[in-house]
Point group: C2
Chain length 280, copies 2
C-alpha cells in the first residue's frame, strides 16, 4: 500500500514524519477524508474545496493546485487498487526549528486504507448517544485537534453509547466526527448552523431534504433535541445514522424515523448517481 508523502509515493510502512513537525510538537494541522467506491473518490471536489479553505484559514500553503492534488489522488487509487477504501489527506504545520514558529512548508500526507462502509440499507435500529458540554476550537475548520474526542471515548464506552453530541450553553452543535439533525413535529428538517464543521454529507442531506421538506439551519437547544420527533447524525463514513436515545431520554418510540429513512434512501441514490459519473 502506498502513501503519498510531500512529493513522492512511499510504502505506507515507511511514511514517517520527523519529531520537529508541528503536528507532533503542537497538534497543528488540518485534514480531510473521503470515501473511495469502485476505485472512484466520491464527491472529491467537495472535499478538496474544504481542504483548501481549512488550509487558508490555518495559514498553511498546499504545495499543489486542486487539480494537481486530484491527479495525485487518482494516481494513488490506481497504484493501490483498493476499490472500497478511505483516503485521508493531512497537512501538518511542517518542520519547525523551534517547535513553535509556523514554517513556510507544511508536510502533506495522503494515505489510503481499505475500509468497510455500512451497506446502503436503512438500519432497523438506531444508536444511543451521550452529550458533553464542549465548544471546539475553530469549529468551522477541519483541524486535527481531537483532544476531547479521543479523551472522551472511555466515557462513551462506559455508557454503552455509540457517540457523543457536544453542546455549549444549552445549544447543541455536532459530534466529534459527525453532524447532527433533528426532525420536528411539523416535518421540518433542522440542523445547527453555528460552531460546527460543515460536513459534506450534511450539505448533501440538506439539499436532498429541501426537495421534499422545509429545512432550517439554526440553533437547536438540547431541550429541543431531546423532544424532537426524529434525530440522526450524518458523516462521510456513516452516511445517515438514526439516533434513538440521547443520554437517558428515548427519542419518541425509540425507532428510526420515517423522514430519516427517506433522506437515507435519497442519499444512497445520490451516491449511485455520482458513481455513474465516475465510471464514465
Amino acid at each position: 500500500m502506498y502513501t503519498y508523502l510531500n512529493d513522492s509515493f512511499v510504502p505506507e510502512e515507511k511514511a514517517f514524519l520527523h519529531i520537529s513537525d508541528l503536528a507532533i510538537q503542537r497538534g497543528y494541522g488540518i485534514f480531510d477524508f473521503f470515501r473511495v467506491i469502485n476505485n472512484y473518490p466520491l464527491f472529491i471536489d467537495d472535499y478538496l474545496e474544504r481542504l483548501f479553505v481549512s488550509a487558508q484559514e490555518m495559514h498553511l500553503k498546499i504545495p499543489y493546485s486542486s487539480n494537481q492534488l486530484k491527479e495525485i489522488i487518482f494516481d494513488l487509487i490506481r497504484k493501490n487498487n483498493l476499490p472500497v477504501s478511505g483516503i485521508k489527506v493531512i497537512l501538518t504545520g511542517g518542520y519547525s526549528p523551534d517547535g513553535y514558529q509556523l514554517p513556510d512548508k507544511p508536510n502533506l500526507v495522503i494515505s489510503q486504507k481499505p475500509m468497510t462502509f455500512p451497506p446502503p440499507v436503512f438500519p432497523t435500529s438506531g444508536i444511543k448517544i451521550i452529550t458533553h458540554e464542549y465548544l471546539r476550537d475553530k469549529p468551522h475548520v477541519k483541524t486535527i485537534n481531537y483532544v476531547v474526542g479521543i479523551w472522551i471515548q472511555n466515557k462513551i464506552k462506559e455508557h454503552n453509547a455509540a457517540d457523543v453530541l457536544y453542546y455549549y450553553n444549552g445549544i447543541v452543535s455536532e459530534f466529534p466526527r459527525c453532524n447532527f439533525f433533528i426532525v420536528t413535529d411539523d416535518n421540518v428538517v433542522v440542523t445547527p448552523g453555528e460552531n460546527i464543521l460543515e460536513g459534506i454529507t450534511r450539505k448533501h442531506v440538506l439539499a436532498l431534504a429541501s426537495e421534499k421538506f422545509k429545512i432550517e439551519v439554526r440553533n437547536v437547544t438540547l431541550e429541543e433535541a431531546l423532544n424532537a420527533r426524529e434525530t440522526f447524525m450524518t458523516s462521510t463514513s456513516k452516511r445517515i445514522v438514526p439516533v434513538v436515545q440521547i443520554d437517558n431520554q428515548i427519542i419518541r418510540d425509540g425507532k428510526p424515523g420515517r423522514i430519516t429513512r427517506e433522506l437515507f434512501d435519497s442519499l444512497v441514490m445520490l451516491e449511485e448517481k455520482e458513481l455513474m459519473k465516475g465510471s464514465k
Copy 2:
C-alpha cells in the same frame, strides 16, 4: 545530538514517528519542558510530577516510573553535553490502527536543544501584549494542542506585540505558554486560578511572593488587568517578564514595576540555590 525515542537513544535527525501516530492523526498528546543549566535539569521533580498528572488525565500510560524517567534524562544530558539547553518530553497518543482509537502504548520522545535564556538581570523595559477571547480545551492539562497559539502568531506580529493574553467572558486566564500576574495598588500579588495551566514558575513565584506580600489566586477581569499597578508574565523559559502595555492601554507609567523586580530577584536566587543542590 541524541533524542530518546521510546526505549533507545537515536541521533536527533533520525527521530521520526510513523504517520499513524495519534499526534499526527488527531493532535493527541501531552508534553512538558524544562531548562538545563550547568548540565542540571532545573526543578526536574516539579516538571515530572506534572507530566505524570497530564498523562493520567489523558489516559496515557508512561512506560517508566518517575525515577526511571529521571535516569533517562540524566543519561541524555551526559550524552549530549549541552550545559545550557531545554529538554522537552512529549508523550503522543501512539500508533493507532484506525487513526482514532487510543492504543495502549503511547510514543515517548525526549529531545534536548541548545537554548539561550534571558540573563538573570531584570529587564529595563517591558513588553506589549494583545488580548484574544479564547478558552483552551482542558486548560489544566499540558496537552500539545496549540492550534490557536500557533494560528494567532501573525496577529501578534501585526500588532508589534510580544505575546497574546487569553480571556473568556471578561476574565483573563493565561498566555499560550506563560502565566499572568497582576499587582494591585495595595501590593497584592494576584494570579488567575481557573482555566489555566498551573505553571511551575508560577508556583515558585507565588511561594516567593507569599513571603513578602499578600497573594491571591482568583479570577481577574480584563478590566482589572488593564488598570493594575503592575502586570507580568511567568514561564520556564522566560522567568518573569514585565508587561507594560495590554492592547492600547499602557500599564501605569509604562515601566517595569518595583514588585515585579523584587519577585524577579527572588526567583533568580531560588534558581541559584537549586543549582547548588544540583552541583553537589
